[in-house]
């Protein structure tokens, strides 16, 4: 019985997490029919591996063909090497930064010690001498604080750019969600409100991010008009990118939330009516839980769109993310630059895949008994 439970939970996990690849292995360990499970392994493991191998072969072939005088398509090995080099560079830069930081911290400690010594001398001295010693101590302290607060300012590495991109997309996605979900709920609950907003949704939904970008930039420039560029919390380019992302990833969530709320099962509403739930109770106990699966389906599309848009937005707004990386490499030319671009394409795809999986998992967690196909 306990064994069966273990198996059931593991299978449920595969289902909810959207990982059918693990299912045959779980069943094998649980002692199910080997032949049947082997079929599953062939389908979910062997076949994809073969497909990837075929793809790499075709890619190498293409790399040998697409060659001009100055540039050539990078082959898989070059791409891989460029990628490992990027990560090695990151590690090297970080190590350098850490060494510098340690040096600065050490400097700060020794400066403080010197300041202390001065102060001690000052306590025994008197008159003019005391004053000079105290002044000396305070300047030493200031220098110590400066040294302690030292921040390495080397150029962002590839990994830094990935992190910036992720931050940007999450900020944009969060803004979009905060707007889209409440508006969608209102649209779904009130057909009149929906009719009023519908023209805007229909018109703005298909607009490309690149068209939005100048206007987003304009708004940010206006908002930052009086601010000193050094004290702003986040850089301008970051905000322009994030807002472009949110303007584009707003719509799928909005439309799906509206649909989800509007199509709540009539029977659930009857239950609410018989129990005489108040408006807020109906909203939080019936309508929102019932529309969560569709809402999360919308959020999943939104995050996908956001990630796609981000690369273009980064390129144009010069936000130091993956988009800018691709753009800078493109300006650089040369085979190495193209290999780096090819590598960053794989990274962008991989991150997009992970984000999508996370959203599928979240969606499955809120849709009881009705998990989506992965």
């Amino acid at each position: 019985m306990k064994n069966l439970n273990w198996r059931g939970n593991a299978l449920k996990f595969c289902n909810v997490a959207g990982l059918p690849i693990l299912e045959p292995f779980v069943r094998l360990i649980a002692g199910e029919d080997v032949k049947e499970q082997f079929k599953g392994i062939v389908k979910f493991v062997v076949l994809p591996v073969v497909a990837v191998a075929v793809f790499i072969g075709l890619w190498s072939l293409a790399a040998r063909t697409v060659v001009s005088d100055s540039v050539k398509l990078p082959n898989p090995t070059e791409t891989w090497n460029a990628g490992t080099e990027l990560f090695a560079m990151h590690a090297k830069d970080r190590a350098k930064d850490r060494a510098k930081k340690r040096e600065k911290t050490f400097e700060a400690v020794s400066l403080i010690a010197e300041a202390k010594r001065s102060e001690q001398l000052a306590s025994t001295a008197s008159g003019k001498e005391k004053e000079t010693l105290l002044a000396n101590a305070s300047t030493l302290k200031q220098r110590a604080v400066q040294a302690a607060n030292y921040k390495p300012s080397s150029a962002p590495t590839f990994v830094d750019q990935i992190v910036t991109s992720l931050k940007t997309v999450f900020v944009g996605f969060a803004i979009a969600t905060l707007i889209a979900v409440p508006v969608g709920v209102l649209c779904g609950m009130n057909p009149w409100f929906n009719a009023a907003l519908n023209p805007f949704i229909q018109v703005f939904k298909p607009v490309s991010p690149l068209a939005w970008l100048p206007l987003a930039g304009l708004v940010i420039v206006w908002a930052y008009a009086d601010a000193n560029p050094d004290d702003t919390l986040v850089p301008k380019s970051f905000l322009v990118s994030a807002i472009t992302v949110s303007l584009c990833s707003l719509w799928p969530t909005l439309v799906n939330t509206t649909l989800g709320v509007a199509s709540v099962d009539k029977d659930y509403m009857n239950v609410a009516a018989v129990l005489k739930l108040s408006w807020w109770q109906t909203l939080f106990k019936i309508i929102l839980p019932a529309s969560l699966p569709l809402m999360f389906a919308g959020l999943r599309i939104s995050l996908g769109v956001g990630w796609m848009v981000l690369i273009a937005a980064d390129m144009l707004s010069q936000n130091p993310g993956l988009g800018k990386f691709v753009w800078d490499e493109f300006q650089g030319n040369g085979t190495l630059a193209y290999a780096r671009i090819a590598f960053s394409i794989l990274i962008i795809g991989g991150i997009g895949l992970v984000l999508d999986r996370i959203m599928i998992c979240l969606r499955n967690l809120v849709s009881f008994g009705n998990p989506a196909a992965a």
Partner: protein, 316 residues
């Protein structure tokens, strides 16, 4: 109206006709209720001239064919729909909206899929008995989970339950509200025959413990006879109205297997079924008469010779 031919082997057990005038004050009464949907040309009258008295403590069953307006009638009683004309009253007050005093069990369970069995039942208990303490409410919920025999599955969500178990949860949820009237809208029609008969007996057992006023809509005559004190047939729609009531004078507690050999049961079943079949035939005839489409006239052709042609086919 054509009245079904009754097989009056035990006339005393079957009373056909108007409800007794001497009956006590009805708990719920419908007088001249009409209900339809749409307007203008698309207007569709579903129920016309519905008169019904539901007495306190009785189990009334309404039997009818599917599509005859049973669910609309139930929604009127629950207060989820308002009558176009006529009045639905409960304890002499007009019903204007849903109330916790009329607990409804829906045909398709209507359990909230994101809540467990316990959660579904607590939702209504917490709402109806707001003034109780937390532990009182919790004990109340547990009592009703035990009552329908789902103690082992209290932590499961609806999609992990079978149809019969789901309907038990739905029943427990409604019973836990302690309504004055229990409205059962075809509660068992989505279940398989075996589960259905188990649940019929359970509903009957629970009802015999509490003797709650109960109105059940069903399309199964046997089920109606098994559980009800009175059976009212619903004539087929559109413009459905109620037929004459049949009183079920069978001893309680009733046992399904024993009933099958009971002559009263058999006579009553025949009477109700015959009545329903005859009103449906009548309504179909009327519909055919009323339809404006001209009858299709087939050409009056006769072959001269039925013998197969001989020899190879030659074109004329």
């Amino acid at each position: 109206m054509s009245v079904a031919v009754l097989d009056r082997t035990d006339a005393a057990a079957i009373q056909l006709g108007v409800p007794k005038a001497t009956s006590p004050e009805p708990l719920i009464s419908l007088s001249n209720v009409c209900k339809g949907y749409g307007s203008g040309v698309t207007r569709n009258e579903v129920l016309t001239n519905i008169n019904l008295n539901l007495r306190s403590g009785e189990f009334l069953a309404i039997v009818g064919f599917s599509g005859s307006g049973k669910t609309t009638l139930m929604k009127l009683l629950a207060g989820l729909e308002v009558a176009d004309s006529g009045q639905v009253t409960m304890e002499n007050e007009v019903i204007t909206g849903p109330s916790q005093e009329r607990g409804m069990v829906f045909q398709n369970y209507s359990l909230l899929p994101w809540l467990t069995v316990r959660g579904n039942i607590s939702l209504s208990v917490d709402r109806v008995f707001r003034h109780w303490t937390k532990s009182e409410r919790r004990d109340h919920v547990e009592k009703f989970i035990e009552m329908v025999g789902l103690g082992f599955a209290a932590h499961r969500r609806p999609h992990e339950l079978s149809g019969g178990m789901r309907q038990r949860v739905s029943l427990a949820r409604t019973l836990a509200m302690k309504p004055k009237v229990l409205l059962l809208d075809e509660p068992l029609s989505a279940l398989d025959a075996l589960t259905r008969s188990t649940l019929q007996e359970e509903i009957l057992k629970i009802w015999e413990e509490e003797r709650q006023t109960c109105l059940m809509i069903t399309n199964d005559v046997d089920e109606a006879i098994l559980v009800a004190d009175r059976i009212v047939p619903l004539n087929p729609g559109p413009r459905a109205s109620l037929g004459p009531a049949f009183t079920v004078k069978l001893e309680r507690p009733r046992n399904k297997t024993e009933l099958n050999h009971n002559p009263t049961f058999k006579a009553l079943r025949n009477a109700v079924t015959n009545y329903l079949v005859s009103v449906r035939q009548k309504s179909r005839d009327e519909e055919a008469m009323a339809s404006e489409a001209p009858p299709i006239i087939l050409p009056d052709l006769k072959p001269k010779d039925l013998a197969l042609p001989r020899g190879p086919y030659r074109s004329p």
